[in-house]
Chain length 297, copies 2
């Protein structure tokens, strides 16, 4: 049982952790801090947290601290809670970029504390804020933990058990490998969706194209409705991995254009077919993880 | 009442038209033709059509003919049904590119017959084949008709009424404007989804990245599961509109890369925010058309 769970950043992700942990009977008390005071008041009013405090006060005397702010805010949060740091508490985070978390700790603590277990739940939505928090958000979702060689093994085990209790499937990875994988499967698609909608948004202002867009466009661009501040942080902090992938995609698009330009019908069919097969492979993998309805399609 | 509805190409789109027209009591008999004999047999077995025939026999004596093959097959279909062409029947199609349809008629008929009403229902799915046909597919969806100045006004009115009876909202447009709008909102996103998944599929073979991809990736890439043969045709036939848009997107990605490279955090935030606002504008427009659940988000 966690006596005092502290959530720094009580948005969709942090709020969902608080609600899920409470629902599973894992915590006695939940305290929260948030730079957005309106959101923090809502978290209190909704009963997601029992007490709203400043970060240092929230972290003080907590035996479990979850850092759930946007990744760009981590250095300032670490500076704020450093005076309250306890060797006996478990610290973990939910950041979408993991090398940047190591850098933030290096800058503020001179290294990664043994009782900090870096984590990243692969869950979320284009929604944000505590009102979107959902105790079922992590059910059948993956959580990646990226411990270092000095991370306390017992604390790592407790964080694994915590996520498992919330219904998630835990994998371990190095921060470097994590950032490489998620640059490809998450950060690149987000950057691309923002770029496409940015470009088409300018066209729409001139000639109203959006009113004729269908369900395919809706799904394809859903992630462009994600929180821009959070994604600005993620793309900047993981830009070393992301930039070469954007360039690679630009070359991929040039190759596709060449097939169209030269009317290579059979090569184009082979290209689209290979892409479709790759997506079916993804669907069968994700069906194995969480049996979504689409996999049967 | 349509006495004999002929569907050439009884797949998702053609099959759904047959089912919906029957459900609305608009037709007495439905006959069908399909280059895929297995699919045609299924259409008969499922009762989507009453009779399976060769294209010319199917079109003969029909008073309403729907051309619902992939757009690339249109020239050969037109040649096949030309001997059975009747001045009294209504002909329409569902092709996703409309200038190519004009070209196909010019090539085979030397012009657009007055009783042909070109159409494009903005509906579909990554599914294909008659088994996916759904009588509700067109409910609250848009249908674009692209008549020429010589199209028979009464026949145009009947096709409008037909689609309205199926629950769709009909708009009129020139073929040129249609192809420009849909290159941006449909063909470009499809090309992009295929390109991204093609690129990541090669990476996945080397280091298994797909198993960690989440719901955002699933939605973003859904259209890459679309029928490759159909999309090969669409992208080739509308390449004059599509190619400049792919190039424009490559430049958009280069501009985004420059913001990342130079760590222009505020500009990046403004960029993502503008994209998010553009998508919210799309959502509010499409909510006005069909009240989807996401619009409230």
């Amino acid at each position: 049982m966690i006596e005092r769970l502290c959530i720094i950043g009580v948005g969709l992700i942090g709020g969902s952790i608080a609600k899920a942990a409470r629902e599973q009977g894992l915590v006695r008390q939940v305290v929260g801090a948030d730079a957005d005071k309106v959101n923090l008041d809502k978290a209190l009013a909704l009963g997601v947290i029992d007490q709203a405090l400043e970060p240092e006060q929230a972290a003080r005397d907590a035996d479990w601290v979850v850092l759930a702010t946007p990744v760009g805010a981590l250095p300032s949060v670490l500076r704020a809670i450093k005076p309250a740091w306890s060797a006996h508490a478990v610290y973990t985070d939910v950041g979408s970029t993991k090398c940047s978390v190591v850098q933030a700790f290096n800058a503020v603590f001179g290294g990664l504390p043994v009782n900090f277990v870096p984590g990243h739940p692969i869950a979320g939505a284009e929604l944000s804020g505590v009102e979107a928090a959902d105790s079922g958000l992590y059910r059948d979702k993956r959580v990646i933990l990226t411990p270092s060689s000095s991370t306390d093994g017992a604390m790592l085990g407790r964080v694994e058990a915590f996520w498992t209790a919330l219904g998630a499937k835990v994998s371990l990875m190095t921060p470097q490998h994590h950032d490489e994988v998620f640059a490809a499967t998450s950060h690149l698609p987000h950057a691309l969706a923002y770029a496409l909608v940015h470009m088409l948004g300018k066209k729409d202002e001139q000639q109203e194209i959006f009113q004729y867009a269908g369900a395919g466009f809706r799904d394809f661009t859903r992630i462009a409705s994600s929180n821009p501040r959070m994604w600005k942080d993620i793309c900047l902090l993981n830009r070393q991995q992301l930039l070469p992938l954007i360039e690679e995609l630009r070359q991929e698009l040039a190759a596709l254009s060449a097939l169209l330009e030269d009317e290579h019908a059979e090569d184009l069919l082979a290209y689209f077919s290979a892409a479709r097969e790759a997506r079916q492979r993804f669907l069968s993998l994700s069906a194995a993880a969480s049996s979504p309805s689409e996999a049967g399609a």
